[in-house]
């Protein structure tokens, strides 16, 4: 009895798994599959590429540098950092209709929002409205944690402190008179940032929550006065603030400033002369940076980007060429066909 038991325990299980005989699919890449496959993929890619390319071509972009490096530029006068509250003008004309909706971006270059210490220098608990962190901001915010009087800075940290503070007004010159082009400041930040991730403390009026704190040193006004006209765009949920707080990946970046969707300009900017009035506050020359504004319309693929279309075209034609080469190789050397 014992012996029999021993026998059964000693004998290896005869299952497909233990005997390494699981049924298996053994794929074979044969010419008959690969060549048509390549042709199909190639054609599909070329198709997508053409679509992308045309789409991208149809996007109109207007880029204007307003750093004021060139002495001819109107903004040259403002490039001196000691000059406060300087405004300058940027004038341009459109010969055709700039189709809408038009998106208005500001762009910075040689600006490293992607630096680690810079990106880490914020307090997300504070920004989600936790009042405890209004009094003691996280130490990562240093040197913008406390001011010289040891008062907590809200919102703390380099990232918030360096918020972009140039403001723009666009006028269409119609018959010599300036007609304000209305800007839409909503919907420029991620929906989740605006609605969930960033929260104002639930104190009314908002100002009271900031008692005992000071504004970031670079800011001209405290957070609760970012947009006094609209409480839902004030404080930490101010969309300009949210756009700034989402760090750019690369040192040359653009961020959405406004959309032009209203009034006469809902279908785009008509041909004509325009004047952009810039409140020039943001210093970039100290680190060799540049500032620019960008008007652009977008498609289903986003802003203008030639890369994707070209890449698809190249890879697609590469695939087709490869399949041709393979066809020749197979035909010439007559590889034994797999069965």
């Amino acid at each position: 009895m014992m012996k029999e038991e021993l026998e059964t325990t000693n004998r290896p299980d005869n299952t497909a798994f233990t005997q390494q005989r699981l049924p298996a699919w053994q794929p074979m890449l044969s010419a008959g599959i690969v060549i048509p496959g390549f042709v199909l993929i190639g054609l599909a890619f070329i198709g997508i590429g053409v679509g992308l390319f045309i789409t991208s071509q149809n996007i109109t972009v207007l880029e204007k540098d307003y750093t004021g490096v060139e002495t001819t530029s109107d903004c040259y006068k403002c490039s001196n950092p000691s000059d406060k509250n300087c405004t300058c003008k940027l004038e341009f004309s459109l010969s055709n209709l700039f189709e809408g909706p038009v998106f208005f971006y500001y762009g910075l270059s040689n600006y490293f929002q992607s630096q680690r210490s810079y990106g880490a220098s914020k307090d997300e608990y504070q920004l989600s409205g936790d009042l405890d962190y209004f009094k003691t901001p996280v130490s990562a915010c240093s040197p913008y944690q406390y001011d010289a009087n040891q008062k907590p800075i809200v919102p703390c940290g380099s990232l918030a402190n360096s918020m972009f503070n140039d403001t723009f007004k666009l006028y269409q010159i119609v018959n010599g008179t300036k007609k304000l082009v209305p800007f839409d400041g909503k919907g420029i930040a991620w929906w989740t940032d605006y609605n969930i991730k960033y929260r104002n403390p639930s104190v009314t009026p908002l100002k009271n929550a900031f008692n005992g704190t000071v504004k970031p040193s670079f800011w001209s006004k405290p957070a609760y006065e970012l947009d006094t006209s609209d409480p839902s765009n004030n404080g930490f949920v101010n969309q300009d603030f949210l756009v700034w707080m989402r760090r750019a990946a690369l040192p040359d970046f653009r961020k959405l400033y406004r959309r032009i969707t209203e009034g006469d300009y809902a279908s785009g900017l008509p041909a004509g002369n325009y004047s952009l009035e810039i409140a020039y506050n943001y210093p970039v020359l100290s680190f060799g940076g540049r500032k620019k504004v960008v008007f652009s319309n977008v498609s289903w693929m986003g802003g203008k980007n030639q890369f994707l279309g070209i890449a698809y075209l190249v890879v697609g034609s590469l695939c087709v060429v490869m399949s041709m080469v393979m066809l020749i190789v197979y035909a010439k050397f007559k590889f034994p066909e797999d069965d």
Partner: protein, 1133 residues
């Protein structure tokens, strides 16, 4: 204290002296003036490695000596000390886990060793102290104590046998646990010490401890009251070794001569050292390369950072000012910490998880070997056994196979097949079970045609009955286990002859038993010894007695043994049996001619042949021989040489009476297995203790030697031809062979051609133990000849080493192992005499044979039969090698293209150690997203199915010499990793030249960037593995698609919730937003395809050489011969 130290000093001095003196029973002897009890070590055996106190530091030290562990420790410490981009938990936790598990495992193993040590050390033994018997713990035995051992006990230390309870002053021991020989060996007491152990006053003078189990020289001075001290010589037959077991003897007394760690057993104890596979060595080499890559990356980044910062305005832009602390810090210190931070950031390039995965793969993979039902042997009801899982892949890399002969190639069940008496052949016509072939009780022996005279017949049979050292195990029905104790060769046939009496024979070799049993079948039965009288029952059922005068023991150089007996009627006869080569020169030539033909025919049939000769001694001759033998036995120096001289002198002028043939049957499929191994490019060396002729015939039978094989012999015989000094002759022969086999052969150097069909001359090399020791131990310039020897051997398809001592086997293995290119060696054997070579070789394989379990216990893998070796190597070994090689390369590759974008990102973030990926991705990449597919691959992949691998042995050559882990494949994988890493990063970089990627015009930030790169990465490396997978079981499907699905699911989940325990919700809705962008989708598809494109092209253009499906092999062979047109074999079939 000082004295002890002095003593120790003296002790050390004493060690240098050739001999030690032991006072039996610690009694001072009259002859010595001052009695200083000499100091010897105590009798404690220590095999454990750690104590409770030193376990933690010592174990940790040993673990951190592993380069990988040390590296991870450093990274962890850096993360703790320096402000780094990732938290110390990411590397600390896995490291802690690995270290703890290893420590627990090693601690447990050491605890087992402690337990075993204690069992031995605390064992109670009986010691005679001043005439009283005292029980003592074994570890307290001192050298000089007189120890009592009873039957079936093991000896607690090395003892000189003083007194035995047996009448004939002998005792029996088995040394199964020492050298594995399970037969009973006879040991003798020292004469004249029989009585009065209490009053015995004697000293033993013997050599210092040395590990050779079979060598012992000493002498004993016995002091009697006022006589001259009597001197008795001591040899190995007087020495009882620790670890051996007393058998068949009620009790013995002996004096301890070597104790504790100085016993021969302890000196022979060869710790099973950790064997490491070539793959592990490759991993370490690759690791170093990656370490260099890592360090250079960190250096580049640090340099860049400071170069960049030195530009105006970049040192500290107004938007990102430094804290006071940073400003105060030393510049160089800052540089250093920056360097370390970069190291930490990039450290994922060498992941802990690779080690965990490799270990898991090995551990789990080894189950497939023990589960394989093809390895199951219904006879012994066992399958394969895996003792170590570290060497699975090494099985696919074997270049040299060292095999034992007896019990491995052959079955080690000896059977008396036929004999030849006076030139007439006597053969059992039917199978041995049928007794009709033998006229057992009446009439003459059956024969084929004619028969020799009755007298010759009887003389021959008597010789068989007398000339041996077999003992009869009398068993009185009660002992049922008798069969197990006698070599498994039980006198069952004897039962048929004498049903009343169960008879077992005990002998040092199964041949002897076979011979005695053979004689029994022909009517002459050996009944046993009765105080120096051998009793033989002849055909007429009469009992003849012969007085045994001398046994001229067998030794491998003489290759014969003799006995001198005196018959009832006073005739003194010498019977001698031995190898034909050693007998023929010593008998008359005309007798030889009649028998030689039979012997040679038998030998080529694979039988073990022995010749039997005899000689009548006149009383003068005997007296002379007797005196010579006695004198030689007492000699303290050169005893063996002197004995040999006397033996040779006595064993001359004999007359040949016949020859015997004993069959040792081949193992099942031995020839097919050997052939397959050779075709797979392995060189098979047969290392045997057996004699040349038999071994040669076995080699022929196993098809290791073919008919066309040219044999190069290098044996004692070839050396004696020239009449010159042996060494000179040796060198001359070596040079000649070297010229023939190494320099001359046609310059076809391809390894493919050296198969059985090739036109190249095959060489076989034969060397014997004596010549080998001559080669190894001779003159100082022998190293040149040694290398000559090695070169010859390496050019031969088969090398046969016969008459090898166990240690010589290991020596050979060691020589090959350390030769140029350090080839992978495999030893396979079944007996304890193979243990040394099993331990020495890279892979040791034990056969679960008849000779005990010693080999199995010391092996790395144990299989029931030799034939299983084929599947183990060609099937499992090949697959495991491919699997693990792919695993290792893939791991390095996937981490290179994982970290390269992170490195490149440093150029776009001001070299500020900004991680490209979120911490969760960094940690999970190796643990969750990409680990399971490769693990499944490395366990289940069969790029070529098992049957094809087995039927096409040449496939084994494809992976020979670590082909998949050399630098060129490594470079290929590395370049692939670099290509893909560059593609991932710059593809997304160009996409992000306009970060407005959504149709609502909103822009993406840095985490979106990282997430897109990471998504491309996970898909690419997983699909790359999918492309490499040739064997898709449902498990592969499940883990590959499951991993990708899990990644998607995890990313949604991770970004879908505000995690309360996280300070920064970096990835909040990043992944979901990414999926909303068409451009992101398009770029992911584009980059994945573009990354895999070169691989797909290669896959298509490189015609797979081997179909993977299970189909008959004929057309495949045709196909390969077609696809290998460069095969330079002009006359191949």
């Amino acid at each position: 204290m000082l004295r002890r130290r002095l003593n120790r000093l003296f002790g050390r001095d004493e060690r240098r002296v050739d001999s030690r003196t032991i006072y039996v029973g610690h009694r001072p002897c009259p002859a010595t003036d001052a009695f200083i009890p000499p100091k010897f070590c105590d009798n404690r055996i220590v095999s454990s490695k750690y104590t409770v106190w030193n376990f933690l530091p010592k174990n940790l030290f040993e673990q951190f000596r592993r380069i990988a562990n040390f590296y991870f420790l450093i990274i962890f410490l850096v993360q703790v000390i320096v402000d780094t981009p990732t938290s110390p938990v990411t590397s600390g936790l896995p490291l802690f886990f690995v270290i703890t598990v290893t420590a627990i495992k090693q601690g447990y193993e050491d605890w087992l060793r402690h337990k075993a040590d204690n069992e031995v050390n605390k064992y109670l033994v009986t010691v005679l102290e001043d005439g009283r018997r005292a029980r003592k713990e074994s570890e307290k035995i001192k050298v000089g104590d007189v120890v009592e051992v009873v039957e079936d006990e093991t000896f607690p230390c090395d003892l000189i046998l003083l007194q035995s309870s047996r009448e004939d002053e002998t005792c029996f021991v088995t040394t199964a646990s020492l050298d594995g020989e399970s037969n009973h060996k006879t040991h003798y007491t020292v004469p004249d010490t029989e009585k009065g152990l209490e009053s015995l006053s004697a000293t033993v003078e013997c050599e210092q401890p040395q590990p050779d189990l079979y060598k012992f020289v000493g002498r004993m001075h016995i002091y009697k009251n006022d006589q001259e001290p009597a001197v008795r010589s001591l040899g190995p037959e007087n020495l009882l070794l620790k670890g051996a077991t007393l058998k068949n003897t009620q009790k013995i007394y002996g004096v301890a001569v070597y104790s504790g760690m100085e016993t021969k057993m302890a000196l022979n104890y060869q710790g099973k050292s950790q064997k490491r596979s070539v793959v592990e060595k490759s991993i370490n080499a690759f690791l170093l390369v990656y370490l260099c890559i890592l360090v250079s990356k960190a250096l580049v980044c640090t340099t860049l950072k400071y170069v960049w910062q030195s530009q105006p305005g970049q040192e500290e832009p107004w938007y990102n000012q430094k804290t006071q602390k940073e400003k105060d810090a030393n510049l160089y210190l800052n540089m250093f910490t920056d360097f370390l931070s970069f190291m930490v950031l990039f450290n994922f390039i060498i992941p802990v998880s690779m080690y965990v995965t490799v270990e898991m793969q090995k551990f789990l993979g080894s189950f497939f070997i023990s589960w394989d039902k093809d390895f199951f042997d219904p006879e012994i009801q066992e399958g394969a056994l895996v003792n170590t899982s570290d060497l699975n892949e090494e099985l696919g890399q074997v270049e040299y196979v060292f095999t034992d002969k007896t019990g491995t190639l052959t079955q080690n069940s000896m059977e008396f097949i036929e004999c030849c008496i006076d030139g007439f052949q006597y053969k059992n016509r039917d199978s041995s079970t049928e007794l009709d072939g033998f006229c057992v009780t009446d009439g003459p022996v059956s024969m084929l045609q004619q028969k020799a005279g009755r007298e010759e017949e009887e003389l021959f049979l008597r010789a068989l009955c007398l000339c041996h050292t077999v003992q009869v195990k009398e068993s009185t029905g009660q002992e049922d286990g008798v069969g197990d104790q006698v070599d498994g060769v039980l006198g069952l046939d004897g039962e048929m002859v004498h049903p009343a009496e169960l008879r077992g024979f005990i002998a040092s070799s199964p041949d002897e038993v076979a011979l005695v049993k053979g004689a029994m079948k022909y009517g002459f039965t050996f009944l046993g010894m009765e105080s120096k009288n051998m009793r033989v029952m002849n055909r007429d059922k009469d009992v003849e007695t012969y007085e045994l005068l001398h046994v001229l023991n067998f030794d491998p150089v003489r290759r014969r043994m003799s006995v001198i007996v005196r018959s009832k009627c006073g005739d003194i006869m010498l019977f001698c049996k031995g190898a034909d080569s050693s007998i023929f020169p010593r008998v008359r030539q005309e007798e030889v001619d009649r028998i030689r033909m039979h012997v040679e025919r038998n030998a080529t049939e694979g039988y073990r042949t022995l010749c039997v000769a005899y000689k009548l001694l006149s009383s003068e001759e005997y007296a002379q021989a007797d005196a010579g033998l006695r004198e030689a036995r007492l000699a303290l120096d050169d005893r063996e040489a002197k004995l040999m001289a006397v033996y040779n002198q006595v064993e001359t002028g004999m007359s040949l009476i016949g020859a015997t043939a004993v069959e040792d049957r081949l193992q099942e499929e031995a020839a097919e297995t050997m052939e397959a191994l050779q075709r797979a490019g392995m060189k098979v060396w047969v290392l045997t203790g057996d004699k040349m002729e038999t071994a040669k015939s076995t080699c022929y039978a196993c098809r290791l030697f073919q008919r066309g094989t040219e044999l190069l012999e290098l044996t004692v015989r070839t050396l004696e031809d020239g009449g010159r000094r042996r060494e000179e002759r040796l060198h001359e022969v070596l040079l000649d062979y070297h010229k023939r086999s190494v320099q001359d052969p046609p310059p076809v150097k391809t390894r493919v051609t050296r198969s059985w069909t090739s036109a190249k001359q095959d060489y076989g090399f034969i060397i014997d133990g004596a010549t080998l020791s001559l080669l190894f131990n001779s003159s100082p310039d022998s190293s040149h000849y040694k290398s000559l020897f090695l070169q010859i051997c390496q050019n031969c398809t088969t090398v046969l080493c016969c008459r090898m001592a166990p240690l010589q086997k290991a020596q050979i293995v060691n020589m090959v192992k350390n030769s140029k290119g350090s080839p992978i060696t495999l030893s396979i054997g079944d007996g304890a005499n193979d243990v040394s070579m099993i331990l020495e070789a890279h892979i040791g394989i034990g056969i679960k044979g008849k000779e005990g379990r010693q080999a199995v216990r010391n092996s790395d893998y144990a299989i029931p039969k030799l034939k299983h070796l084929k599947k183990l190597l060609l099937g499992h070994g090949h697959l495991y090698y491919v699997r693990i090689a792919h695993l290792v390369q893939y791991f390095f590759y996937k981490n290179l293209c994982f970290i390269l974008p992170q490195f490149l990102y440093q150029f776009f973030c001001g070299s500020s150690q900004q991680p490209l990926y979120d911490a969760a991705y960094l940690t999970m990449y190796n643990i969750c997203f990409t680990s399971m597919p490769i693990l499944a691959y490395s366990l289940l992949e069969q790029h070529i199915c098992m049957e094809v691998l087995m039927s096409n042995a040449t496939l084994y050559r494809d992976v020979a010499k670590n082909a998949m882990l050399r630098w060129s494949p490594f470079l290929y994988w590395t370049l692939l990793g670099v290509y893909q890493g560059l593609l991932f990063f710059f593809g997304v970089r160009f996409l992000f030249s306009n970060p407005a990627l959504q149709d609502n015009g909103q822009v993406f930030g840095n985490w979106s960037y990282g997430t897109i790169v990471f998504t491309v990465l996970v898909f690419t490396v997983t699909l790359k593995l999918a492309m490499d997978t040739r064997h898709w079981t449902w498990i592969n499907h499940f883990v590959i698609w499951g991993s990708l699905a899990f990644y998607m699911f995890f990313s949604f989940f991770w970004g879908g919730i505000i995690w309360p325990f996280l300070r920064q919700q970096r990835l909040y809705f990043v992944f979901a937003n990414m999926l909303r962008s068409v451009s992101a989708w398009l770029v992911i598809i584009l980059l994945v395809l573009l990354s895999l494109l070169p691989e797909i092209l290669l896959l298509v253009l490189r015609k797979p050489r081997w179909p993977h499906s299970r189909q008959p092999s004929e057309d495949r062979l045709l196909q390969t011969s077609r696809s290998l047109p460069s095969r330079p074999c002009p006359t191949s079939t």
